[in-house]
């Protein structure tokens, strides 16, 4: 019995392709049942998120055969069955019928590059053939552990994937599609992820500009609760930053935009209020954080304008986040007492440094994962297996 993985992820597949293969939660139990009834897998888990679609299967088939069958299953499940022949004919999605021994190579087997692109169901999705990856043991287990730890995620070290993986596993388990092999593998993967989160810095810090701004605010203010935020000009980045601050407890979001209607819409989304663009300076006495991202070609706030406002604020700290390019706030305001001015580059530097720290931790995480996978394999080899056959009956595996 071998644990194998087949899937596609953000690394090699564009979203247009990933969305074709995605499983809705409602479809997953039926898909798992179909996998097992066909005898393709004794146990299976399907993980379908916005960044990846993967099937984890424990199968008695040879990995090469299992990969061919699983790919066919994926193509059919993706709704491409009608065009399956066409896709097969292109040779871009499915591997050669007789896969090479590379399937056991450390980096896993990948389907060969056909040297062209094709269309799927009339969509302009280029298919190079590299989109699908397959792993047999032990790389399949290594991959599962990496996914659980966020090492394979788009945002290195993110934790959301752990929840998604747990959910996928719970769904399969709930419908009786997991057994001794996958149960052990997934539980060990969750344990390894927890261990890595506790003992390394892979999940520490903020790697996006918006969360770096929140972290910065948390270094200035003793608490973000009861903080009022002013958003001047509604750009995508300022919206994200305001949202991040709101999620960390900010009390009110005040939006000032050149288009009052747009400001009102945004303020409504945040549960805040909108003010006329020309009145934003009047709000300075009350707010603690101001995010500016207007398209003004000149500075809208300078030292001469800010100093009297700070007096009215009785020297309470003020965090200014200037996301605009060209900049909205004169850099000289940073010299005003109790004012902290950060622009987009400063925030990006913080995010980059955290990302660098996380990347520096990869080697440590990989070492832990290698150790945990080896321990799992040893355990699996030393224990007589209670495997399930294709029909859901537990069978005692031959210890030999």
């Amino acid at each position: 019995m071998n644990v194998v993985v087949i899937g596609l992820s953000h690394h090699l597949s564009p979203v247009e392709l990933r969305e074709r293969f995605a499983f809705t939660e409602a479809r997953i139990p039926a898909a798992l049942k179909s996998l097992r009834e066909s005898g393709l897998a004794s146990e299976a888990v399907i993980l379908s998120t916005c960044n990846r679609v993967e099937i984890y299967a424990a199968t008695a088939l040879e990995p090469a055969t299992a990969f061919t069958e699983l790919k066919e299953f994926l193509v059919q499940s993706s709704g491409l069955a009608g065009n399956c022949d066409g896709v097969l004919a292109c040779g871009s999605l499915l591997p050669p019928s007789n896969p090479t021994p590379e399937s056991k190579a450390p980096e896993g087997w990948r389907s060969p590059k056909p040297g062209g692109s094709s269309q799927v169901l009339g969509q302009d999705v280029p298919l190079s053939g590299d989109e699908l990856y397959t792993f047999a043991e032990p790389q399949s287990l290594h991959h599962l552990f990496k996914v659980a730890c966020g090492l394979d995620s788009m945002v290195l070290g993110e934790t959301e994937i752990m929840g998604q993986l747990k959910q996928a596993y719970a769904l399969a388990q709930q419908h009786g599609h997991t057994g001794a092999r996958l149960n052990k593998a997934f539980q060990r993967a969750f344990h390894a992820a927890k261990h890595i989160r506790t003992h390394t810095n892979i999940q520490r810090g903020s790697v996006s500009v918006a969360s770096a701004a929140v972290e910065l605010a948390e270094k200035i203010f003793s608490s973000l609760n009861d903080r009022d935020v002013l958003v001047i000009g509604a750009g995508e980045m300022s919206e994200k930053t305001a949202r991040a601050l709101l999620s960390r407890g900010a009390r009110t979001i005040i939006v000032a935009g050149r288009s009052f209607e747009r400001a009102q819409t945004l303020a409504k989304e945040f549960g805040g209020r909108a003010v006329q663009f020309d009145d934003w300076a009047m709000e300075f006495e009350k707010v603690d954080i101001a995010i500016s991202s207007t398209s003004a070609p000149h500075h809208i706030l300078d030292r001469a304008k800010l100093e009297p406002l700070m007096k009215a604020r009785k020297q309470r700290p003020l965090l200014l986040i200037d996301i605009a390019v060209p900049r909205d706030i004169d850099p000289a305001v940073n010299f005003v007492e109790n004012v902290y001015l950060y622009n987009i580059d400063d925030l990006q530097a913080v995010a980059d440094d955290y990302l660098k720290q996380r990347k520096d931790e990869i080697a440590r995480c990989e070492a832990i994962i290698a150790e945990k996978v080896t321990a799992l394999l040893k355990l699996t080899d030393s224990q007589p297996r209670m495997d399930t056959d294709g029909h859901g009956y537990k069978t005692q595996a031959d210890p030999a």
Binding site: K219, S222, Q315, P317, Y342
Partner: protein, 275 residues
Amino acid sequence: MAWFTDRHFFLLAVAVYGLSTVYSVFLWRKGFRKDDHVNYLLLLAAFVLHTVAMVRRGFSINHCPVNNLFEAAMFIAWGAVIAYLVIGLLPRLRFLGAFVAPVLFAIGVFALMPELDPPHGPKPQFTGALTSLHAATILLAYGAFGLAAAAAGMFLTEQHDLKFHKLRAVLSLLPPIQRLEIITVRLVLAGFILFTIGLEAGHYLPHPNDVSVSYWSDPKVIWSIFMWLVYLGLLVSRRIFSQSSRRFAYGIVAAFVFLLLTFWGTNLLSPLHHP
């Protein structure tokens, strides 16, 4: 073990404060990125030794150990370290130890100078509950001012990093500057109240028989009133005139440095305290 006196215990405590100071430099250079259990435990160990030294000295003279400059300095440091150990229970404030350790080490080295601890005569120079209250509250006040100066130093460091966009400001595990400011103000306020009680208690103390100088013209009393006014001025300027946080922090650090540098001299000049 009779040869191992209270001074030896205090010497050991000062040695551990020294170790903690060295470790603090290491933490500083590393950008305060790692939680500081080691420093907290070092200061806890030093506190135990320090307390043993204080208790032994207290039992040996049968009196609160605040009778000479050695004991006074020991008491100030003890007040500061106990306040730190309580505040340091909050993980984000534990790094305060890195700023407190050098102050404790400096006070300890100063206290260990032999001239500051002359042998006690048949009875201590000062006796009575009111004297103990006077000395203990004033020395605890100095401890609070010392800890406030350490918190203010931490505030200034972090504020500088934030102002000049040093990555260390965000990446470190130091607490938010606003919280540091609140702690500084509260410590100064606590110190100020203790100082006021101590000065008031001193006013009612009987004068030594062979001293003719009046209470109000004693150099130490004048110096103490000056220090009291300095701290009052800092608190008032902060509260009423919205003094900037940075200036307030500089003021607290400067006031404590001045206190440390002049404490010994004014004590020697005072006929009431050094008859």
